[in-house]
Symmetry: D2
Subunit: 375 residues, 4 copies
């Protein structure tokens, strides 16, 4: 019995503060603001510590949605999960993807197979000394399972993308732990972001059976052979718990969308991108122009991928210079290159390519998921 | 009668000053230094005005080759054409491509069809006021035809890549023109680089019949519908004439290499890259992993492409942010993105992707040529 | 008869969206929101085209002040002049300076001499084709005089800093002019910013008698010997008229502040900075540590300066590299260097140093104004 | 008895490969190439890992000096100490400073007091596991004393600037240590640069009695209250020992130069710069224009300073943004700001301001030395 319907809306933006596209769809009745569950966006910033486009975008969305939801702007962020990824290098085009979910009485006729489903859950508040360690891993794994339940997904093979927002350490948090006699995984705020992203990704891997249960504190940011093929994690200062968004396919969904994925083994893994597109019935149509997705009644909605500069300094044995560039951070290089490849194969630059892929896919690679609309 | 043999050697470098790979091949007898005609390289710099890796690389090569050629270092640059393209963004990997040419007595058996040929020519010294204008266009066209002759190519359809080095304006050159009562196309050194690149590319287009003979001064950097599909031009301060290198296929060549090309219509034109690979018998082998070029006895040597940020601010109707980024120049963005796409489809980051594509391919796109080795 | 009182509050910020310092002063009663006339700020961005910290800061301030003023957020910007200068390079520290003005019944005893006064005015809406040309110059000059009136300043020698917000061209505006048969000064949005800043600065110079009335269209961005010693202009997309803020000293002011200025002849003109500090009774106190402003009862509030890379590529005959750096824009270089000098002489990095100084001070230099509090 | 004469020549350069100024002075007989002991330079690069302007400048100087010295280019580097500091941000102007030393028979009449002296020494080769630890500290201290001897300096108070070149770790070196059963201070090449610089600076402090002998491995990069007021250290891949250059004043010198120094407590410490200038008889001449050094017969030659972004994120209690800027490295920010201050007070941008000041002056500050010529 199909009981939920998930909507996906990709909306181009004219700047980090531009909410006009979303507001128009709400005014036209295409989007019910009360049904919005999560918004993932690509904004214009550098994706680094001083990227203010992310918080600006969230502030603008909260201010615009608040009156539609009868909430104060600061309450909107409690209700909707916002994940903004800074950095639209190269052909990447700024946009937001809005996910909605609502109950349906009578599912539309003619739906067969599993369809796109979305579920959310969150961990308890984590202690500073738990970040980047087993506690964060196991708590995240529990939340992933809860989010799968929420999405009506029972088979881990039906999970195709798990987006997580996770906390980071600040000097106050480090000191609070020290005052209680505990040492944190790192004392650097910047490093703690990687630790938190890494442990969260390992939590996904644990929940989905991609790694064994014996993962240890010291494996985080070291054992890069341990990873999830569907995790995409980003850390932010505004929370102390993990928010987990599971995207997959479910029999309980009456959605007109479907999701699939593959894993890029390195930054030039065109086969994986092709495989991900094929997995939801999209073809490259090489003979006809790659942008034309030929299969009947299937249309690309968006691609979600993680990118990083290979930590060993090479791609297929050839030296890259991303890690030694003092002028451009390696995450900007990696997003530009992977964005160029995915943009070329998908036929559009409005794709979600995000940087920082610790334990998210193999070292130098990352997960790539695709959502298609079926007509 | 096949009378010349052209060699192509792609050599990875460890830095702009690294000549060890080339020296090793010379010492091993694989490369005869006296046969070297041209060296095209990708170096680590930013590709901008303050990119010193290009002149450093040339200086290091001249110093290393001088004793092998019995010349002073400064004489080497008169003998060999060096074209260094700065900027190895994303997956691009620093390397040089060495082109050699020698006469052959008895061509190897079993060669059929046209094979890789290289020819060079140069224009007379140009006056400062001629740069970026019809005089540079028509002089370049003459030199392209002379270089075709030198390469033994009679059919313009056999020309697949024309690399040009061209002059730029300095304040002294602008003043010299003014003293003779002439105004230059621009007084800015930086702008003059684009003018000179653009007029040189139009010269190629004119020679190859890609545009009509009535091209005017005011079309340069304005009529972007006028362009060459095989021109790749870069300007440098060290010369006042154009140096033209024609790469194509010829019956007179006994080379084991073949070249082909296509033109990218925009920065995500994966079809064009595929077409260029296919044109020399290389396939993507999508089912088998894209890096594996499956066709029997054919091996990728290098890809040569030009990239630029689309001047209208969009790629296939979607906004890009390359032109408004005050932190990263648009040429670095464009090389990173196009390098990611070509790297993915070719299965290697050691490809020659260069920025600044005025009148070289359509606006936002550019030529893409491929050299394959036949065994 | 002293009838107005002008307040100046310098408030450190923790980010472009941080309004907590201002809100605290309002809650404590130190600032009456209804009395706020203008807010000048330094934000963390790059100061370039893609600097979103400026609009984010304005949006955050409007959202926070709206309920205090009984206005909608978008109405706040009509009432208060916001001028955000992006770029806190080097020692520059993000902050805002809030200017208030109110009528006073009985001025405090013991005030003698002229005191800080502030006046505002605006031009009529300008046509696109008027930007960067005489029309903008003469309209600005009129508005400067109106703002002087508003400030109660009659002698041009009492004007020490004129901050202007001015429009820029967009492609729509260029086309609108073309449709009416008019050509704009430039068709590039980026260039139009410089034209608009330059013409606005010349308008200040005209109003204050610093240049003769015969200034012509073709002098803008060319005759750099024509400039104002007190103009500071910045262009923004959100308006089509010039907003003029005049800061000077007046007998009609009962303020506890005083303003003075000097003009830097180049980017290392320490004498001018010293002279500006001295002009309001502040000394460097070199023997005692430069940060300690020794003169009795005088305290530094803020320094306001414009900085730019000398267009001839040299500072006092020595080559600088700011204009050839493809990695860092010249405006960032210039703010960092001038901010270092002023920070050192003023003893604080919380100073307002802004880039882009066309016709604002001599080429390579710029105005420097200082506000001191008298106890 | 004055037995040595030290010469100092500051030569502007037109690019990292420009040796024309030095060659001219050699041809004119002003500089005897055989007398050159050391060359310190500021080059145009970013000062980071991918700054190739430093090695390019050294390669160009070696190639040019080799025939003058009857050596092969690679031998020149064994004979002359080259220290190139990349990064000419803001007003900093590219230049080299050439130090010469020769024996004199009869010193010129009229010399009194101590005069500029230069001495050099080097440590034994250090083991990878010794870098950044006590062994490097104590070996460096020994070399500093040897270099003082070489300079004819007996009183540590006469030492005003100690420039050191020191090794860094590579993965090969880390592995070599591991193979012998030893752990290095860090496994990151980038971090090892800071460790090596820091331990070398502590070695200077130890030799000069600025710190006690009980400094321990764990103090390096942690106890920032331990520092030298005259150390300036930079690490390079090309050596495994420390090269120490001591600059000070000595009775044995017949030089026409004198050196002095002070220590900047933070990046805006104008008092320290003034003190350093005063220490060699140079005044700011604030009344007359700061560039004019008024004292009779004294002329500024160069200023040598180290700059860094204060690690606590503030300058005199106010937040700076240098450490969170993903677009510009903090060392570039710091050089630009400190260069602006020193440039302003010294009246010239051709000063040597170098980044990375671990244990070189207090945290956020650094040493500043001045050389004056006496006529």
């Amino acid at each position: 019995m199909r009981t939920t319907s998930v909507g996906v809306f990709k909306i181009a933006t004219k700047g980090p503060g531009d909410v006009s596209g979303l507001m128009r769809l709400i005014e036209q009745g295409a989007i019910d603001p009360a049904a919005i569950l999560a918004i993932l966006g690509k904004t214009e910033g550098n994706g680094g510590v001083n990227d203010f486009t992310r918080e600006y975008a969230v502030a603008a969305l909260c201010a615009a949605l608040a009156p539609k939801l009868g909430l104060m702007p600061e309450e909107v962020e409690q209700r909707i999960a916002f994940v903004m990824s800074g950095g639209t290098e190269g052909v990447l085009s700024p946009h937001i993807t809005v996910f909605t979910r609502r109950q349906v009485e009578a599912p539309p006729a003619g739906i067969s197979g599993k369809r796109l489903s979305i579920g959310m859950a969150q961990t308890r508040d984590l202690l500073p000394e738990e970040l980047g360690r087993s506690a964060q891993i196991t708590e995240t794994a529990k939340a992933v399972k809860a989010a799968m339940d929420d999405a009506g997904i029972t088979d881990t093979a039906d999970v195709h993308f798990v987006q997580i927002k996770c906390p980071l350490l600040t000097s106050e948090r480090v000191e609070a732990a020290a005052a209680r006699g505990h040492k944190t995984a790192t004392i650097s705020a910047y490093s703690s972001m990687a630790y938190s992203r890494g442990a969260s990704a390992l939590g996904v891997a644990l929940a989905l059976g991609e790694i064994a249960a014996d993962v240890r504190d010291e494996d985080v940011l070291r054992r890069y052979d341990l990873f999830s093929k569907v995790a995409s994690t980003s850390s932010g200062i505004e929370l102390m718990h993990n928010v987990v968004i599971v995207l997959g396919n479910s029999q309980s969904s009456a959605s007109e969308f479907e999701i699939g994925h593959a894993v890029m083994n390195d930054a030039i893994d065109a086969s994986a991108v092709t495989e991900a597109l094929n997995s939801v019935g999209l073809s490259l149509g090489l003979g006809l122009g790659l942008g034309a997705q030929a299969k009947a009644g299937r249309e690309l909605v968006n691609v979600f991928a993680k990118a990083e500069a290979s930590p060993d300094g090479t791609v297929r044995g050839l030296r890259h210079t991303m890690l030694e560039d003092t002028d451009i951070s390696s995450t900007r290089h990696a997003r530009a290159a992977v964005g160029g490849l995915i943009g070329g194969l998908a036929g559009t630059g409005a794709v979600y390519v995000s940087g920082g892929a610790e334990h998210q896919g193999p070292a130098g690679g990352g997960p790539v998921a695709v959502i298609a609309r079926l007509s």
